[in-house]
Amino acid sequence: MFDWIKERHRAGKQKSENTGTGKVLYGPIPKSIRAVRERLDEIFSCCSDVIIREIACGEKKKIIVVYIDGFIDKRLLNQDVIHPVINFLTNVESKDDVSIYDWLKECVVINSDLKDANDMGQAVHGIVSGEAAIFIDGEDRALVAGVKTPEGRQVEEPDTETSIRGSREGFVENLVTNMVLIRKRIKNPELKMEMMQLGERTKTDICICYIKGIANEQILEEVRKRLREIKTDAILDTGIIEQYICDNRLSLFPTVGNSEKCDKLAGKLLEGRVAIICDGTPYVLTVPYLFIESIQTTDDYFDHAFFATFMRILRLIALMISNLLPSIYVALVVFHQTVIPFKLMITFAASQQGIPFPPFVEVLLMIIAFEFLREAGVRMPKPIGEALSIVGAIVLGEASVSAGIASNLMVIVTAITAVCSFIVPPFIRVTMLLRFVFLAAANFMGFFGIILVGITVYIHLCRLRSFGVPYMAPFAPLTVPDLKDSIIMVPVWAMITRPKILRQQENVRGIKGSKRQREENRK
């Protein structure tokens, strides 16, 4: 149905490719230190945060140290880089057989993270990403030393995904810290982290993280391809990447997962999924993302399987309720009074009496009022939140009923819907919109309309793919071995194989898997 939108989009994409990448070329590094200075002044004009420091070593030699103030650890820079360099250049006569540059690089500078910059572009990039560049008179290369300060927030428990059991560590904004957090959980060289940069201007570091030998190569290649195809000048969050790489860009349903929790991510990696970490955001993406993952939580695996199964059924029911309850209520009251048991009907009729609006309008008002409250709660500074909740509770709950604007039954319906909508976080936004569609259908066609919309949604879900993997797996297509970790969950010790639908290279977990590997090695 939306083919033409896609076409238009594709056309637009091609056009943007044709206009060129907009990359600025900085050229080579001049040999003369004066020229270097001029070039740097030109590049970093009006960049008050860039410090360009010229240091004279001895009589002739001059070096220029460039870095961004506050981005690097100055003491470390002085101690490990500048001080040895000055010492060396002042005291040691130039040697003919080895260039000064190589001497400096190999023997003098004791910083562990040291790179060459062969042209101005590399040096500039190093500077803007928090490294210090050292230009030496007479060299067409520059030293780039990584002396970044460990800046940013401490590792703390994520607000969005709290759990009863399991790790309290959540990702932070710093990419390197995030990579460490994952490595801490999977101490294995098979855990691979591929770096790349996205965004013409922001030059954001992106890391593709996967476990070699488990993750499906095809999916991995697809991830790389889709990331490479992103043509934009700014990547500020994984949310932007998500929109570019998801399979069906117009679908309401999320086909790329995100998480703030390290243990959750480690679990996903071990299932054979691929993670995408982006510098500057604590949200890490996982692909492929299937419907069933929305009702799985990390707590499930740390608890008894029976409780987990019960909770999953509960979550699924909650998902249904948050989508359908208002529309079912409207359909019952407006069309299908016949199916209401008569005692319940008296209750319904009693609560409806004296309400000036039809049930549809009533539900709409209540739900929209709730969405207002919710949005206000998100945007509002935290100290004021309490006032909001009082106003919300009194206005929505009490006053609207006693004023005769809404029936008390409707308040209950809205409240249950609201509560249930928060039980399955990945679908909060989807259900928010779908609820209105169902509601409209229920008001015009009753249960028939609900079923019509329901079927449409279900067909859409069954058609949806996430990186080639069917979204509704293991139910559609039915993948019997994967049912062990779907609505029902078998205990962790019985979960011998990984989700089959992801087509991992190595499907068996634990001892069995390693045994097989050992045999293969022996051969």
Partner: protein
């Protein structure tokens, strides 16, 4: 417009066009725009018109909610109101009622349909057509015949027991499960009985006791859609035992100048007809009951198996007597086979039925009857013997 786009547009239009075709019940009506009918009464006026009485519930009065009473208290509302309307047909009476009430009448949760005696004597089959035809009518409502009072009076009683008289009446009929002295006839049962070959319909009866109470006890016997007479409560239970509608009942028996109450907990009754040479020769009723001793007001002990045997025999005799009375009355007085002996013939001896089916009720009233009751006492309760001093 490109070809692909056109195709998409056509598809959208096609989908939208099909939607109105699918909608089944398209009348959108809100709960607050309905008058919920709890009970219906059908009577006949002197000039031959149909008098329909409906009992409508006031939900706000039954369940005062804060949203309903938002406008401030005021005087106490009655939980139901009763209105009557005349008409040549039932539907006309219903529509005529809209002149008196403000909202549409909603019949789907109606609990009882009470038919007056005079109307029943003239025949109910024609009137029931509306209730068969209308899709809004609940087939599960109980049908009763008012004996000695008009349905209007019954529906207007103000019972202290339940705010809605319709629910109260329904409840008393439902209790028949544990007493077996009234026949619970849902509308669907009645329609089935009318349509059934070789069986005459019978409907439970209802009367008023005192100011505020009703009593549902006994049975009205119909023949060809017309009420022909009544059965009292014991006879009714006989019928219930024979047609296997007893789930539980209390049967009092006299043994050794004392009384004992036996609680029937399981009963299985079958009716059949013995046929010889395609001629019906005998009506057979077989009943198998299991009972517990509920009360034993007899001097002496209940230990010995002989005493239990005596009780069993007394129980069987009592039930046989009740069934006998009922069949006798139906044969001699009313000439109406409400037991369904005829439908047994129709189903299992069709050749015989073809011979006698046309005047079955007359044939039925002439046939001898065999009643075979097998009673068994299962438990005697917590004590074996009454708590009396040793003699």
């Amino acid at each position: 417009m490109s070809r692909g786009r056109k195709k998409v547009l056509m598809r959208c239009i096609a989908v939208i066009l099909t939607i109105p075709v699918f909608t089944g019940c398209w009348n959108n009506r809100e709960l607050s725009d309905l008058n919920i009918v709890m009970g219906l009464g059908l009577d006949k006026t002197d000039d031959g018109k149909i008098l329909l009485t409906v009992q409508v519930a006031e939900p706000g009065a039954i369940q005062p909610s804060s949203s309903a009473s938002g406008g401030g208290g005021g005087e106490k509302q009655e939980p139901v109101f009763v209105v009557s309307s005349e008409g040549e047909t039932v539907l006309e009476a219903i529509r005529g009622m809209l002149a008196v009430v403000d909202k549409r009448l909603f019949f789907s949760v109606a609990q009882v349909l009470i038919i007056s005696e005079s109307l029943a004597r003239e025949g109910i089959e024609e009137i029931l057509d509306f209730f068969e035809r209308g899709q809004e009518v609940s087939y599960l409502m109980n049908v009763l015949v008012a004996r000695g009072v008009s349905p209007d009076e019954i529906l207007r009683i103000e019972s202290d027991i339940d705010p809605i008289p319709g629910v109260y009446i329904y409840g008393t009929v439902e209790n028949s499960v544990s007493r077996g002295t009234v026949k619970k006839t849902m509308l669907i049962d009645l329609l089935k009985e009318i349509a059934c070959k070789g069986k005459q319909p019978s409907i439970g009866q209802i009367t008023i006791v005192g100011e505020k109470k009703v009593k549902t006890k006994g049975l009205g016997v119909f023949r060809d859609g017309k009420l022909v007479g009544w059965l009292d409560k014991d006879e009714t239970r006989g019928v219930m035992f024979a047609v296997d509608r007893v789930e539980s009942a209390i049967v009092n028996v006299l043994v050794d100048e004392g009384k004992a109450a036996l609680e029937v907990v399981r009963s299985r009754g079958t009716v059949s007809v013995d046929v010889e040479n395609d001629e019906p020769v005998k009506l057979v009723v077989r009943v198998k009951v299991e009972a517990n001793v509920g009360e034993y007001e007899v001097k002496g002990k209940l230990e010995a198996p002989e005493r239990i045997k005596i009780l069993e025999k007394a129980l069987a005799d009592e039930i046989r007597k009740e069934i006998g009375m009922a069949i006798d009355k139906c044969q001699k007085e009313y000439v109406s086979d409400i037991f369904g002996f005829g439908s047994y013939l129709y189903r299992f001896h069709n050749r015989c039925w073809k011979k006698v089916g046309n005047e079955w009720d007359e044939v039925f009233s002439e046939l001898p009857v065999e009643i075979d009751v097998d009673a068994a006492i299962k438990r005697v309760g917590m004590i074996k013997n009454p708590l009396t001093k040793e003699e």
